[in-house]
């Protein structure tokens, strides 16, 4: 009887493998308030030491009350946003309404996990207004683990920004004056200023962060624009004032 061997045909010559991923730098950040949510990202796209462009958005409007920030491998990020938007459109056609935020969050987890063995190399942060009118932030890892939080930074300057946010949003390592307590939610004006400061700081110390920052601000139904009025050049993206309202605020960052 002959031997059944697999030697020859199974021994492939070792080849240099094509690497389907790259890193495109940048940082994203989101903070939830009591009745608003702020989602931001810088606009620089880079590869290695080269700046590819000074304006490539990382933050995208999904619905009037949901905004998604993506960071990591830009090609995966853009494709992922495209597919999420497509699923949300199908939902709209099927149910004649926008998908609720928590459902978008679960959808994103399912879509990310579906690619468990060839992941989207992307960190996602979803911000918006929940059905109960509260501001919410959901953050994800590339394969879909997620949680709802009050604030989250991701991307190349995560390690610079997150501890600053721990201190300024969660008041970590700060003891309130006797008989008082720290606020659970900060006012909008304060939050927007913290976000801009975070990006200015990250730009100063991280080479992949800079050029510009884009802030999306979502206000809960019926909430006035108080807190936004002190900022110049705030652009409204929603056509009418009833329902949730969405605004963008753009600021230049250093370009070096």
């Amino acid at each position: 009887m002959s031997h059944y061997t697999r030697t020859q045909s199974q021994q492939h010559p070792t080849q240099r493998q094509f690497n389907p991923y790259t890193e495109n730098g940048g940082t994203i950040l989101a903070i939830a308030g009591a009745d608003f949510s702020v989602i931001a990202g810088d606009t620089r796209q880079s590869e290695g030491y080269s700046i590819q462009t000074r304006y490539a958005p990382k933050v995208f409007k999904l619905t009037d009350k949901a905004v998604l920030a993506v960071n990591g491998f830009a090609a995966d990020g853009n494709m992922f946003v495209k597919k999420v938007k497509q699923r949300l459109e199908w939902y709209r056609h099927a149910h004649s309404k926008d998908m609720p935020l928590r459902s978008i969050a679960r959808l994103i987890q399912t879509m990310l996990y579906a690619q468990r063995f060839f992941p989207y190399y992307v960190y996602n942060i979803l911000g918006g207004i929940e059905e109960d009118g509260t501001g919410a932030v959901y953050s994800f890892d590339p394969v879909g683990s997620y949680e709802r939080e009050a604030c989250r930074a991701a991307g190349s300057a995560q390690s610079l920004v997150q501890p600053f946010l721990d201190n300024q949003i969660y008041f970590k390592n700060q003891t309130p004056v006797l008989g008082t307590s720290h606020p659970t939610h900060l006012p909008l004006r304060h939050v927007v200023q913290l976000v801009i400061d975070s990006f200015t700081s990250a730009t100063e110390r991280h080479i992949e962060v800079g050029d510009g920052v884009e802030l999306y601000i979502i206000l809960a139904r019926g909430r006035g624009t108080q807190g936004l009025d002190s900022f110049k050049d705030v652009q409204e993206l929603t056509p009418h004032a009833e329902g949730e309202r969405l605004f963008v605020l753009r600021r230049e960052l250093k370009k070096d």
């Binding site: 009887m1 697999r6 492939h12 495109n24 590869e47 830009a74």
Partner: protein, 265 residues
């Protein structure tokens, strides 16, 4: 007679099933696809083109690339056009593997014919061509079978300039000035200084001049370049691609540098 119909037409593995008695459900399958190794994916570029440069200016978009297709360090084909018109509004410029680029030209030419046959009064503009190309490139990288190119897609339609980049990973971006390959390191600083923030003011003469200047610098410094290049111009008047141009170069200085010019000292 083999009584198991699912086996018909398939070779029997005599090492495992000498007398053809294997029951149907556990019939040994051919473990390896005999032709699997015959299917090759592009793992590295073979015949390559170097940098492509492009800028936006007052009247539209201008793009430049030399006409060399190298085989490693050999200057193999010296009259290959790396700027390809697609429809009436778009030019696509390619660096990287030239056979993959010619495959892309085929895809795009077919696409234009298909769209023309619709006869619906719509024509594909640069942004549509870009969208198609970004999806094609991303789909191929996701199949671990990339088209090994860096592409610039420039065009002018409905009064709007368009300029974008796509590469073998599906990475995309838009910018007033873009360069691929060594151009990204050597030409981009020169182009950004002239173009970025002034794309509405740069005249055709200025645009042509800075591109010629960059092509000259690249010819001096990029060992895989050629002093024969084309410039494409896409404006409201359509596409114009020049024949092979060349820059006036100066090599007299080389004589005075030991190890660079002739060895006579």
């Amino acid at each position: 007679m083999d009584h198991f119909p699912t086996n018909w037409g398939k070779p029997r593995d005599e090492a495992v099933d000498v007398y053809s008695t294997y029951p149907l459900h556990s019939r040994p399958r051919n473990q390896v696809d005999t032709f699997a190794e015959g299917v090759q994916h592009t793992q590295q570029p073979i015949v390559t083109g170097t940098s492509v440069l492009a800028i936006k200016y007052k009247d539209g978009v201008m793009m430049a690339a030399d006409t060399l297709a190298s085989y490693g360090s050999l200057a193999r084909f010296k009259d290959i056009s790396r700027l390809h018109p697609v429809g009436d509004y778009t030019v696509i410029g390619a660096g990287g593997d030239m056979s993959d680029f010619q495959h892309i030209q085929g895809i795009l030419d077919d696409l234009i014919v298909e769209e023309f046959n619709e006869a619906d009064g719509n024509a594909l503009g640069p942004s549509e061509i870009f969208e198609v190309m970004s999806q094609v490139m991303y789909a191929r990288r996701s199949k671990f079978n990339p088209l090994w190119n860096s592409l610039l897609i420039g065009g002018f339609k409905d009064g709007k300039s368009f300029l974008a980049y796509v590469d073998l990973l599906g990475t995309t971006y838009q910018s007033p000035s873009i360069a691929t390959g060594y151009g990204a390191y050597i030409a981009i600083p020169l182009l950004r200084k002239v173009v970025d923030g002034r794309e509405k003011d740069v005249t055709e003469e200025q645009a042509r001049h800075i591109l010629e200047e960059c092509m000259k610098v690249l010819y001096y410094r990029d060992a895989r370049s050629l002093n024969k290049y084309q410039i494409a111009k896409i404006t409201k008047d359509g596409i114009e691609i020049t024949d092979g141009l060349s820059s006036k170069t100066e090599w007299a200085f080389a004589e005075s540098i030991r190890g660079y010019g002739a060895q006579n000292q």
